[in-house]
């Protein structure tokens, strides 16, 4: 049976063995369990996502990046906290808002920036762009752009994990808007019916594009949708990285132990538009500003300094390293070659191109 190569990102030990006590907080428990260096690592991932995406916006404005660009700014705590519970044999599927999950899984930001620039050195050779980052060496199966669709593929990989007895868990990210379509319900039914090891993480950022949740969903508490399938579910604060980590750990353990899937609803908020072209007429500046004042990255940064996990100077130095890495990714992407025209032939479309061409050679 096929085994996938493992992830190379810094692995953070599972938080599941934690027991809450009256006095402890997610922060104190995580600090006890992980140690200071790992807390800083979680911060590093969040800030790397933030700076990478701010650079993406800049490059989009300068027309280095085309197409759709959906930024994760504001939602970093959910992706980083949730993914920190995964091991190398675990799998990730996500939607078009995929930059954060890719970086949290440890994908190489040079290759990610190159993908955005449409370069051959990109994670998908420039064939996918912003919405389709993938890296099979890290079991990161990609971002998918048909809302709700990838939940079924995730359930399929979970079925493979179950049949191959890999002990792997599949984590799949999607938005609140994705929970109204049939594919969501089909995937929940299949997963619960067959006790598939899937952790469904709904990033409830209160909007599907510009449509508020009150307008798009008959049930506003998304996690309750799992009850139709007798599925375990939880609603969590998606803006606190350590809360996310602790609670999702429980879901991952549950799925891994063979008890079945879990639906996690992480309450979060995106600070930027739905995509780079969004003028955001559907929400007020004040609303956005209010959420921005509770920026999950900056709050965690402050917590680390206040608790003495790291000094302000050390964090500043870390930020500077991140900035330099992001700059380097732009240079790498800029200097990389574009993909060749072989992608326009059958060999770009099929793993096994056949003697009979399907592509008209005159058009190539």
């Amino acid at each position: 049976m096929q085994k996938r190569r493992g992830a190379t990102q810094a692995e953070v030990p599972a938080a599941s063995s934690l027991r809450s006590t009256m006095t402890s907080t997610p922060f104190s428990r995580a600090r006890d369990q992980l140690g200071d260096a790992q807390l800083v690592e979680l911060y590093r991932q969040m800030m790397l996502i933030r700076r990478f995406e701010e650079k993406c916006q800049e490059m989009y404005t300068r027309a280095k990046i085309g197409g759709f660009l959906h930024l994760y700014v504001g939602e970093e705590a959910t992706g980083v906290g949730a993914i920190s519970n995964l091991q190398s044999q675990d799998h990730i599927f996500t939607h078009y808002r995929d930059h954060g999950h890719a970086i949290a899984r440890g994908l190489n930001i040079d290759e990610l920036m190159a993908e955005l620039f449409g370069k051959d050195t990109g994670t998908s050779h420039g064939m996918g762009g912003s919405m389709h980052f993938a890296d099979i060496t890290k079991n990161f199966w990609g971002g998918y752009a048909i809302v709700g669709s990838h939940l079924l593929l995730a359930a399929g990989v979970a079925l493979a994990c179950q049949m191959q007895k890999t002990n792997g868990v599949v984590m799949v990210f999607f938005g609140d808007g994705a929970t109204n379509g049939g594919e969501f319900y089909e995937s929940l039914n299949f997963a619960q019916l067959w006790k598939l090891p899937v952790v469904f993480v709904c990033e409830n950022n209160l909007y599907a594009m510009g449509t508020p949740i009150e307008v798009h969903s008959s049930v506003k508490e998304i996690y309750r949708k799992a009850s139709a399938f007798d599925m375990k579910a939880m609603r969590i604060d998606g803006n606190d990285v350590l809360t996310v980590r602790e609670q999702v750990a429980e879901a991952v353990e549950y799925a891994r132990s063979g008890q079945g899937p879990v639906l996690v609803e992480a309450m979060t908020y995106r600070f930027r538009g739905h995509s780079a072209q969004d003028t955001q007429k559907y929400r007020s500046k004040e609303d956005v500003e209010q959420h921005r004042s509770n920026d999950p990255v900056l709050i965690f940064r402050k917590e680390l300094i206040d608790a003495g996990v790291s000094s302000a100077a050390d964090i500043d130095a870390l930020d500077a390293v991140i900035d330099e890495q992001v700059e380097a990714s732009v240079r790498f992407a800029d200097e990389s070659p574009v993909p060749g025209n072989e992608w326009l032939t059958d060999s770009g479309i099929y793993a096994a191109p056949l003697a009979t061409a399907t592509v008209d050679p005159d058009l190539v």
Binding site: M1, Q2, R4, H91, G122, T123, S124, H125, G126, M127, G128, H132, A134, D135, I136, W141, G142, Y144, I146, S149, L151, L152, L153, A154, A155, G156, V157, A158, L159, A160, C161, M163, Q164, G182, E183, E186, S187, N189, F190, L193, W343, D346, G348, I349, Y350, A351, A352, L354, A355, T356, A357, T358, V359
Partner: protein, 324 residues
Amino acid sequence: MPVLTVREALQQALHEAMADERTFIIGEDIGHYGSTYGVTAGFLEKYGPERIRDAPIAEAGIVGLAVGAAMAGMRPIAEIMSVNFSLLAFDMIINHAAKIYSMFGGKFSVPLVMRTTNGWTQLSATHSQTFDSMFAHIPGLKVVAPATPADMKGLFRAAMADPDPVIFIEHTLMYGIKGEVPDGDYIVPIGKSVLAREGRHITVVTYSRMVHLSLQAADILAKEGIEVEIVDLRTLRPLDMSIALESFKKTNRAVVVTEDWQSYGTSAEIATRLYEQGFDYLDAPIQRVNFREVPMPYAKNLEQQVVVTTDRIVAAIKKVLNRS
């Protein structure tokens, strides 16, 4: 060589496929019910529920889970009871199975086989359609529609060995058709057409069940001294026109017979290729025989006028021959 029905040939191919530990079958009523068309009858008892997965009525889910499992190293067979129901899985087929290889830069593929059936018998408008051209329209898919028991087995084996998604189109009215089938490992490559009958006056280009009707038409015409050559395409994507063109260059006349609607259907593509690549050899306009372009009526007298019959094929051939 043993003579088998299409059903038996497929059963043999499926059992051979199940020898691979990675293979499982997922579909509606494939196990407990005993299989809609009898192809997987007895499989549940032999292989167990882990590998013969009776699925809920959720076509997107059936194909979607199979796509995911295929990506992760399994070799699933997804069965969609009737091609009419595949419409509910088109997102999985077209946006996912067909795209994943190229969209992610060739880093992983989807070795999925999706079996499904064309067919009609007073089933009315929603249960009598064929969507061959919709599948064959899509870069990234491979589409086969075999006609004989031997090709059923051989192409199924090829489909299972292929790293790309293959749509395997069967026909409810063909399961009882008999023919010789080689024992053991027998593989017919995807993307290769074949001569089904030799003749020198006119070329019929066709596939799937229409091969059999065209053969009947040829028998009738043979009594009148008309020798019909029949090309069985077998694969619709990639489309191998080499044998059809060779034949056309000899006969200079062609009829295209397909069991779908004419407008934008598979016969449009086939005829266009003959025109584009065989124009200099053309002695008469190409005729097409297809479904009449209406939603399928239930009433038998009307249904008979919509479907392709041997008589209609004979008439089309005569029409082309009389022009020159």
